[in-house]
C-alpha cells in the first residue's frame, strides 16, 4: 500500500520502521534466516514455558483464578505505563528525528499523534511478547475465548500510553525541563515495581493473623456500578464481548483525548528542551571553586561526577533494591530464629553485584570520549585503574552502612557479607571488562543498554555468591559448592589468552 508522504499513517509507518531497525540491531551480523529462526525458537520457548502455567491456572478454583487474573491485568497495565513514560520522556529529550519532523511543514499534531500510536504499538508488542504465548496456551487448554487477551492487551496499551503521556506532561509542567528526565525515570521504575512489591506484600503478610489481610478486609465496599466497571478488564480478557468493546472504547477515547488535549503542552516542552542549548535557560550560578591537581584525581572525579549525574543508574539501583527486598524478607521469615544476616547479606550482595556491573559498563565500556583519553599523557593501565577506583568507591560507601549495622549484632556474619560482596562485585566488574561491547557514546539509548548476555552472566554469578553467603551465614556446607560454582563461572568466562595478550 502506498501512503501519502506526510500523512498520519505515513508518519506512523516511519516511526515503526525506526523502531524495527532498533530492534534489528540486536541481530547485527546474522542472516535473515537466522533471525527468523531465533524469533521462532523464542516463540516456541515462550509457549513451552507458558504451558505448565496455563495448566496450573486451569486447575485453580474460580475465586483464585479471578484474583490471579486481576493481578495479571493490573501488572500488565502498570508495566505498560512504565514503558510509556520511558518512551515519551526519551522522545521529549532526544535530539534527531523529532527535530526534523517539527521543522517540516507536516502538522505537529499529526507528528505527535503518530508517535503516540507507534508507542502504543511498541508497548503492545513488548508486553505481548510475554502475554500472548500465555493467551495461546490458555486458549488451547480452556477455550478459544482466551484469545480475547489480544485485543485486551491493545486496549490496555492505549490506556497505558494515555496515562504515561499524561504523567510525562504533568511531571514536565511540575518540575520543568531540568528535572523531568530524572523524575520520570524514577517514576517509571516505581510504577513497574509497584505491582511486584504489592504482590510480595500480600504474599508475605496475607495470612489471617497478619495486618495486611486485616487491611485488605476492612476496605470500603465499592458501589455496585464501580465494582462492575473495575472488573470490566477482567471480563474483557476472558472473552466477554461487551466488556471487551467497552474497554477498547475507553482505551481509545482516553488515548485520543490525552494526545489531543495535552499534545500542545508536550510539544511546547519538546521545543523548550531543544532551546536549552541556545541559552534560553541559564544554568544555576555555582560558587567558583579552584581547580584541583593530579591526573589520578581528575580521572576519578570525572567518573564520579558522571555517575552521580546519571538518573538511569539511580533508577536501576532503586529497581534492584525494590525487587530484592521482599525476597530477602521471605528468606528471613522462613527461618526460625533467623539471623539478621540472612535478610541483609543476600540483598546487599545482589544489589552491589548488579551495581558493580552497571558501573563497570558505564565507566569503562561507555566512555564518552575514548579517543580523547587515548591522547592524554596517561597509560591505558592507569586509566583503567582509576576507573576501577571510581567504581569501587561508591560501592564501598554503600556497603559500609549495612556492614556497620550488621557488625553491631553479628560481627562474624558482617565479615562474611563483606567478603562475599567483594567477590560478587569483582566478578561482575570482571565479566563486563572481559566482554567489552562498547556503546556508541553519542547514543544515550545504547549507552544505557548493556548487552543482555552480560547481564545474565552477572546475575548468575551474583546468585552464586549470594547463595554461598547465605550458606556460610547458616553454617551449612553448601556454601563451599556455591563458592566453587561462582569461581568456576568467572574462570569459564575469562577472555581467550590471545585477547588478554
Amino acid at each position: 500500500m502506498t501512503l501519502r508522504p506526510g500523512s498520519f499513517l505515513w508518519l506512523v509507518r516511519h516511526d515503526l520502521v525506526l523502531s524495527s531497525r532498533k530492534f534489528s540491531q540486536h541481530f547485527v551480523g546474522r542472516s535473515r534466516m537466522m533471525v527468523w529462526t531465533i524469533i521462532a525458537f523464542g516463540l516456541v520457548f515462550m509457549h513451552g514455558l507458558c504451558r505448565p502455567t496455563a495448566d496450573l491456572f486451569a486447575r485453580q478454583d474460580a475465586q483464585t483464578q479471578a484474583s490471579t487474573l486481576a493481578g495479571a491485568v493490573l501488572f500488565m497495565f502498570l508495566w505498560q505505563v512504565s514503558q510509556a513514560i520511558t518512551r515519551f520522556t526519551r522522545l521529549l529529550y532526544s535530539r534527531g528525528d523529532l527535530d526534523l519532523l517539527l521543522a517540516s511543514p507536516v502538522s505537529r499534531r499529526a507528528v505527535l499523534g503518530a508517535h503516540a500510536v507507534a508507542t502504543a504499538v511498541e508497548i503492545t508488542l513488548v508486553v505481548g511478547g510475554f502475554v500472548f504465548p500465555m493467551a495461546d496456551m490458555l486458549a488451547w487448554r480452556m477455550g478459544a475465548y482466551w484469545l480475547a487477551v489480544y485485543p485486551a492487551v491493545v486496549a490496555s496499551a492505549l490506556l497505558a500510553s494515555a496515562s504515561g503521556f499524561a504523567l510525562t506532561v504533568g511531571l514536565f509542567n511540575l518540575l520543568g525541563p531540568r528535572h523531568t528526565r530524572a523524575a520520570a525515570q524514577v517514576a517509571a521504575t516505581l510504577i513497574a515495581a509497584a505491582m511486584i512489591l504489592g504482590g510480595q506484600f500480600v504474599y508475605l503478610f496475607g495470612s489471617p493473623a497478619r495486618p495486611a489481610d486485616a487491611l485488605l478486609n476492612t476496605r470500603p465496599t465499592a458501589p455496585a456500578f464501580m465494582d462492575w466497571l473495575i472488573q470490566t478488564p477482567m471480563r474483557g480478557v476472558t472473552g466477554d464481548l461487551v466488556s471487551l468493546i467497552l474497554w477498547m472504547a475507553l482505551g481509545g477515547l482516553a488515548f485520543a483525548w490525552t494526545v489531543l488535549r495535552l499534545g500542545p503542552g508536550f510539544l511546547q516542552g519538546a521545543i523548550l528542551v531543544r532551546g536549552l542549548g541556545d541559552g534560553q535557560l541559564r544554568a544555576r550560578e555555582k560558587a567558583q571553586k579552584p581547580f584541583r591537581p593530579g591526573a589520578s584525581a581528575a580521572l576519578r572525579r570525572k567518573e564520579l561526577q558522571l555517575l552521580a549525574r546519571d538518573p538511569w543508574l539511580f533508577s536501576r539501583g532503586l529497581l534492584q533494591l525494590l525487587y530484592l527486598a521482599p525476597v530477602c524478607i521471605v528468606i528471613w521469615i522462613s527461618k526460625e530464629e533467623a539471623s539478621l544476616a540472612l535478610l541483609v547479606a543476600p540483598l546487599v550482595i545482589m544489589v552491589l553485584s548488579h551495581l558493580a556491573g552497571i558501573l563497570a559498563w558505564l565507566t569503562i565500556l561507555s566512555e564518552d570520549a575514548p579517543d580523547f583519553i587515548t591522547t592524554a599523557p596517561v597509560t591505558s593501565r592507569e586509566v583503567l585503574r582509576h576507573k576501577l577506583e571510581a567504581i569501587f568507591l561508591p560501592l564501598g560507601l554503600i556497603l559500609l552502612a549495612p556492614t556497620l549495622g550488621l557488625a553491631w549484632a553479628e560481627p562474624l556474619n558482617a565479615l562474611l557479607m563483606v567478603l562475599f560482596a567483594i567477590a560478587a562485585c569483582a566478578s561482575a566488574a570482571l565479566i563486563n571488562i572481559w566482554h567489552p561491547a562498547p556503546a556508541r557514546a553519542e547514543s544515550a539509548t545504547s549507552r544505557h543498554n548493556p548487552p543482555k548476555i552480560v547481564g545474565l552472566k552477572e546475575n548468575v554469578v551474583a546468585v552464586c555468591w549470594a547463595v554461598a553467603c547465605v550458606g556460610a551465614v547458616g553454617r551449612e556446607k553448601y556454601w563451599i559448592y556455591a563458592t566453587l560454582a561462582g569461581l568456576l563461572f568467572v574462570w569459564v568466562n575469562r577472555p581467550p589468552r590471545r585477547a588478554r595478550a
Binding site: 561526577q305 579517543d371 592524554a376
Partner: protein, 253 residues
C-alpha cells in the same frame, strides 16, 4: 634541554604507511613541521588527512615509518609525546554531563597543569571564546559550535607545543571562527606548531605558513602558497585553483 628550546622539528614524519583491509590510506608520507609554523594539510575526501593526524596523535599505529614530536619518538615514548601535544577532532569529544569549567579542570588535571595556572588559562580561553557565561551549563544542551569551542579550549588549556587540528572550524559561526583563527595565529606566533586539516581553503590561504596537499595517501605538493603557484605555473591563482590543479594531476588511488 627542554622541549621548548629543542632544535628538533615540532613534527617529523618519515616513511609513514597505513593500510586498512589491505587498502593503503597513507603511503610513504614524509612531513616536517618546524616550531612556530602553521601548516595546513589539504586534500580531497579520503585522501588520508585524518589518518595522518590520528597517527601523529597516537590514536592509530602506523604499519611502518616513524613519528617524532620535538625529538621525542612518539611510537616508543607515547606518553612523553602526548604531554606536549593536543588533538582536536572534527567531532568534539566531550562529556555531556560535565559543564565547560569541569571539563577544563579534568583536561588540565590529565595533563598535570598547575591548578592555579589552569584556572587562569580556563578563564582567559572561555572569555575569548565567549564561553564564560555558560561555564556552569552542562555540555549536553550545547550546539555543535559551542561544543567545538569547549573542545578547543580543552586542547589549548595545557599550552601544547604541537596542535593537531582536524577540521577545527566545522560548525562555528563566522564571528567565532574569526576568534578561533586569531587564537591559533597567536599560538603560532608564540612558537607553537600547528597542523590543521580543512576543507575551507580560505582558512589555509590566509593562515598557513606552508600548505601540504595530500591525495590518495601521498603528499603531492607542499610549500608556501607562492611556491605552490610557481609549481603549477599559474601565478595569481587562488589556492582553490592551485589545489584543484594539483589534485587533478595526482595519480588515482
Amino acid at each position: 634541554m627542554s622541549v621548548a628550546s629543542s632544535p628538533a622539528p615540532a613534527l617529523s614524519i618519515r616513511g609513514l604507511c597505513k593500510s586498512f583491509d589491505g587498502k593503503p590510506a597513507v603511503e610513504q608520507l614524509d612531513l616536517t613541521i618546524q616550531p612556530g609554523e602553521f601548516y595546513a594539510l589539504l586534500g580531497p575526501n579520503g585522501a588520508g588527512k585524518t589518518t595522518t593526524i590520528r597517527m601523529a596523535a597516537g590514536l592509530l599505529l602506523p604499519d611502518s615509518g616513524s613519528i617524532e614530536i620535538y625529538g621525542v619518538d612518539a611510537l616508543h615514548d607515547p606518553i612523553a609525546a602526548r604531554r606536549i601535544t593536543a588533538w582536536l577532532p572534527d567531532e568534539p569529544a566531550l562529556y555531556d554531563k560535565l559543564d565547560p569549567l569541569e571539563y577544563l579542570e579534568f583536561v588540565a588535571g590529565l595533563w598535570g597543569v598547575d591548578p592555579a595556572v589552569a584556572m587562569s588559562r580556563a578563564r582567559d580561553l572561555m572569555e575569548v571564546l565567549e564561553l564564560w557565561p555558560h561555564r556552569h551549563t552542562r555540555c549536553e544542551g550545547f550546539s555543535r559550535g559551542m561544543k567545538q569551542k569547549v573542545a578547543l579550549a580543552g586542547a589549548l588549556i595545557h599550552d601544547p607545543m604541537l596542535l593537531l587540528l582536524d577540521e577545527p572550524l566545522t560548525g562555528l559561526d563566522a564571528a567565532i571562527a574569526r576568534q578561533v583563527k586569531d587564537l591559533l595565529t597567536l599560538r603560532a606566533r608564540a612558537g607553537r606548531a600547528i597542523i590543521l586539516t580543512t576543507h575551507i581553503l580560505e582558512v589555509a590561504e590566509r593562515l598557513a605558513d606552508r600548505i601540504g596537499i595530500i591525495s590518495a595517501g601521498r603528499l603531492c605538493a607542499q610549500g608556501t602558497l607562492e611556491e605552490l603557484r610557481a609549481r603549477t605555473g599559474r601565478a595569481g591563482d587562488t589556492l582553490e585553483d592551485v589545489f584543484l590543479d594539483i589534485t587533478s594531476r595526482a595519480p588515482a588511488p
